[in-house]
Symmetry: C2
Subunit: 228 residues, 2 copies
DNA sequence: ACCTGAACACCGTTCAAGT
DNA sequence: ACCTGAACACCGTTCAAGT
């Protein structure tokens, strides 16, 4: 918002500014020109600290992955592979909730930044220490997939949630689709009714995330025991 | 490639052209001006069949979802909720392999096109017919998440695969990281060694997809039995 | 060394004009 | 009704020039 008064630019300040811009106005607002203006500088000045827009986007991913590492460290790693992995995925999710633009950005990048490999190495170490063979650990890494980065799946959201209030079809829309989508409408009504519990709301999608995570962890545990 | 000789434009021809352009030159190449040139027409002509670039992108998602429905129909639906769901996810994956740009596009869209709800309704119907309560079916829908659209998770790919030959770190890069990422390097070597089997290759990531899919379906089956 | 300003080749889109 | 061409407000980026 307020053009930063500092005179000295740096890669860190550029990336921090880009993160802030994406958080407040969305990823499309992250423009070399707009970012520069936000930093109180000319567009071309950015190129002294970042080689290109593409590199800026890579830096954005790097910054988010770094936040995940910090969040994991701050949450104090528990004992046992299952709890550690669970904790790491939930930490990652908290970071993604702070930066809703991050999942789409990360999956659109052609390659993951080198620092992300530290994150995967940590997961892999936890798995191997937990008794997984490399082969099964590899499968586990893929199975965890986007959960490992805490991706909030909004691919599907039929039930109005506090997470994304504006993007769901309203009750009126659902009523109009009722004959084409009978089960979807019935489910939405049934779930909305159950949600009288005030604890729910955004917690709802937290519960979905944990349900899926536990489903995967349970399955991986079973596969691990079978091969031991 | 060859500018279409047809004189008459239509929404269908515009969308088909956009899909073809994305397939051959990637999503960034899908530009109003370039798409128009590809269709042998002026940029502004497109606006008579599509209200905006944003609507064009929505149409692109719609086209891909439509292809998924067609692929499911073509594969002849098997008996039983588990086999039907499995078949549907694998069909979706085949479509996404044909359009590698689609997953990133879909997850970057603020909302899913109305036609996608037919896809989810079909999944939900299969679940309900299979004995799932609405509550558990809702969780299942979220758990299946991106698998339901056949997303090819390339978030993580430490082992060179035929899927994305250029994007992985080469053996040289891995050797350089060896001290920072011991397990990742060891795993990559171990897996590369096992892959002497000529059947593997792109099949490898097919196997990963099916492993994860079965992990989820097994877990959902267990949850279903518990609540019955 | 870092920052600037003008310039170039692109974008999406509006609008008045053509048929 | 559909298509066009010029124009406008934006992009990312090159380059020569300033300090």
């Amino acid at each position: 918002m307020t053009p930063a008064p500092h005179r000295r630019l740096s890669r860190e300040r550029v990336l921090a500014g880009a993160v802030r811009l994406a958080d407040t106005h969305g990823l499309p607002a992250v423009t070399m020109r707009r970012l520069a203006a936000d930093l109180g500088v000319e567009a071309m000045s950015l190129y002294h600290h970042v080689p290109s827009k593409d590199a800026l986007l890579d830096g954005l991913v790097e910054a988010v992955v770094g936040e995940v590492q910090a969040e994991v460290a701050a949450s104090g790693e528990p004992e046992g592979w299952r709890a550690r992995l669970r904790d790491r995925c939930l930490s990652a999710r908290r970071v993604m909730l702070r930066h809703p633009w991050a999942p789409a950005l990360i999956s659109s990048r052609p390659s993951v930044p080198p620092t992300a490999y530290l994150h995967y190495e940590a997961i892999l170490t936890t798995l191997v220490d937990g008794g997984f063979s490399y082969h099964l650990a590899h499968r586990a890494l893929h199975a965890l997939g986007s959960m490992a980065l805490g991706f909030v799946q909004e691919v599907f959201s039929p039930v109005p949630s506090a997470d994304a209030p504006g993007t769901d079809p309203g009750a009126a829309d659902l009523a109009r689709m009722a004959d084409a989508l009978p089960h979807l409408v019935a489910m939405a009504e049934s779930e909305a009714h159950d949600a009288g519990d005030p604890v729910l709301g955004w917690c709802d999608s937290q519960a979905e995330f944990e349900f899926t995570l536990d489903l995967l962890l349970d399955g991986l545990d079973r596969a691990r025991v079978l091969t031991t």
